[in-house]
Subunit: 357 residues, 2 copies
DNA sequence: TTGTAAGCGTTATCAC
DNA sequence: GTGATAACGCTTACAA
């Protein structure tokens, strides 16, 4: 046998499965449970002596208060639920990180649920979260009907902040990207390059972000007095595969577009892939601009012109709104917009190195 | 003034949104709380009549049992803690998704913590999770010392499965990628292309994945009777920026390497970026191969040869191990390896279209 | 300043 | 079969 195995801890002898409770601390400190509680939480007035005794006992026993019991008693779990269509997607993962940061700081824990892009999944997720008595909800919805939302979480009174996938004016607030502005910038820029036959890979129309981007596309084209030709608007899921599929269709149109705006980076990559298959050169044969910038945008072939923003800020902003709402139920509803900006690279037709306006 | 303005929240609104409790259900059904509990949980024998009555009452009242109370009483929270260095990283986000899937299926919820790549963060996260009485832990560590781990979670007896960032033989099991095999394949392939001066962007050496990749690099070079020149091994953080930095150094060496193996895709992108700055052509002047495949690997300039695998499977496998451990504390420790394979593209020097062995 | 007692909403162990 | 009753571990009036 190992000669120097760790000494069977003399202090904590019994490998007590049962964790040490407040009562244990109280007993060791020679006070009542309530006093111990007060000492630990800094509530009420106690003599310095007893406070010290309790703290010492707690330390010695390595006391960890049960958040479960505490939550049950105080009716606050310091936990918030986070619901997204797909955690593995870079955007949601980043938003999650941002949210988690500010929530952590504010003393909240996050319980995560993935709706798998289905309304049923969302409903289930919200139900579960509510049963766990979360103090608040951060959700990006994939087309949850408003009355369903009201039915499921509305009556619970749990504050809910939406982000990216918004639900009308429901909940305690919302955070979106500047979808309109972003698409407008993209279209404007392609028009500057002289394009008139511009198409849109529109993304999912069950999500507000997709809807807003499509709407803005139409409005901006109209503003330029450009007509959107038949089949030039391609709604689809947000995936690279759909982007490729829709782009093939676009390229087969007569006349084909001379420029494409992709409502997301996945869609843009799909378009690039389709062009490669068909031998269509970007930007010479087809100009391309995309919503969502990525850290590899510069290294693509060609480098991708896109709308950049800070995805973590979306999560942070939403979390801040939620924390406010949880602390003060009366705080009024706020709608925030996270700013975006155009990053010019080669795919739109800009010359290499052209990054200034 | 608005006639139905929200009631002025008196500091903390007293109008308790008290949810319906088991007692309420019992009362409506005309039975005792214990009977109601049994009916709802399908435990014990009851008459069909009462069971129906309880179910109906619960339905009518839209009763949602408090998981908090249930957990407190049963000493099981059906919650597992998930700790990673960086949720926003594609790999961890995917692993999270995979884990979440199987945990959800098994009836568990996941509470998420981001250690921000710091040991202190990890310790804090584990502590918090334990206070919340999680039933299990899924963690990817950034160099947590084993004795710290034992101190923090060891004595709690909470089962813990490590993945990607492993901790010796601690915990109830572990899941890693085939790091050795992956790097070996990469080196073998570059050697096939005739390279001898091969360098490694080694990644972080505080994580087991980084360490294993470096070790395998050395072993494989030795197997080929190739020597690793001074300065050809570049440990660094896992970021694109570090990749660029280290690659600049590599390119400035005399003689410079003719091929680079990157231990992660971020590192590879950094290398591509550095090459672009310097006018070094890939693969003509420098061949490049990378651990981690990405969905955009094909669209890079040039397309990136890399080691592919299913990141979600890492999470799924780890979750399965954990579920087993939570159900059966006696189950013995298992170490799993998730398979990887080489995807040949242009960056290593393979001809366009060459994907077969 | 400190202790007693009453819960928070469940489930488990008894009796009946 | 079903119902009291006692926990689970904590907080908080209310007493003392």
């Amino acid at each position: 046998m190992a000669s120097d195995s760790p000494p069977p801890s003399a202090a904590v002898t019994a490998r007590t499965k049962r964790s040490v409770t407040l009562a244990d601390v109280a007993e060791v400190a020679g006070v009542s449970a309530s006093t111990a509680s007060r000492a630990l939480n800094g509530r009420g007035e106690l003599s310095d002596a007893t406070r010290a005794a309790v703290l010492e006992a707690a330390e010695a026993l390595r006391f960890q208060p049960s958040e479960l019991a505490r939550s049950l008693r105080t009716r606050t779990s310091y936990t918030v639920g986070f619901v997204v269509p797909d955690v593995a997607s870079p955007f949601y993962a980043s938003a999650l990180k941002g949210a988690q940061q500010v929530l952590e700081q504010a003393g909240y824990r996050v319980m995560l649920m993935d709706s798998e892009q289905e309304v049923a999944g969302e409903v289930a997720a919200l139900g579960t979260l509510l049963k766990h008595q979360v103090d608040g909800l951060l959700v990006s919805t994939t087309g949850l009907p408003e009355r369903t939302f009201d039915e499921v979480v509305g009556r619970s009174g749990t504050p809910c902040v939406f982000f990216d996938g918004i639900l009308g004016d429901a909940g305690a607030g919302s955070v979106s990207l500047e979808n309109e502005a972003g698409i407008a910038e993209l279209v404007d820029h392609l028009v500057e390059h002289g394009h008139e036959r511009i198409a849109l890979l529109a993304g999912s129309q069950t999500e507000t972000s997709g809807v807003e981007r499509l709407t803005s596309f139409r409005a901006t084209m109209r503003r330029h007095r450009l007509r959107v030709r038949d089949g030039y608007e391609r709604p689809s899921p947000w995936s690279l595969d759909s982007g490729r599929l829709e782009s093939r269709t676009l390229l087969a149109l007569t006349p084909p577009p001379t420029a494409v705006v992709a409502a997301s980076v996945e869609l843009a990559l799909g378009c690039m892939s389709a062009c490669r298959e068909r031998g269509v050169r970007i930007p010479d044969d087809l100009a391309l601009g995309s919503f969502d910038d990525s850290y590899f945008g510069e290294l693509l072939d060609p480098p991708l012109t896109s709308i950049a923003y800070d995805p973590e800020e979306v999560g942070r902003a939403a979390a801040r709104l939620l924390v406010d709402a949880m602390r003060d139920a009366g705080s009024d509803r706020r709608e925030l917009l996270v700013p975006v900006h155009l990053v010019r690279r080669r795919s739109c037709g800009c010359a290499p190195g052209a990054t200034a306006a």
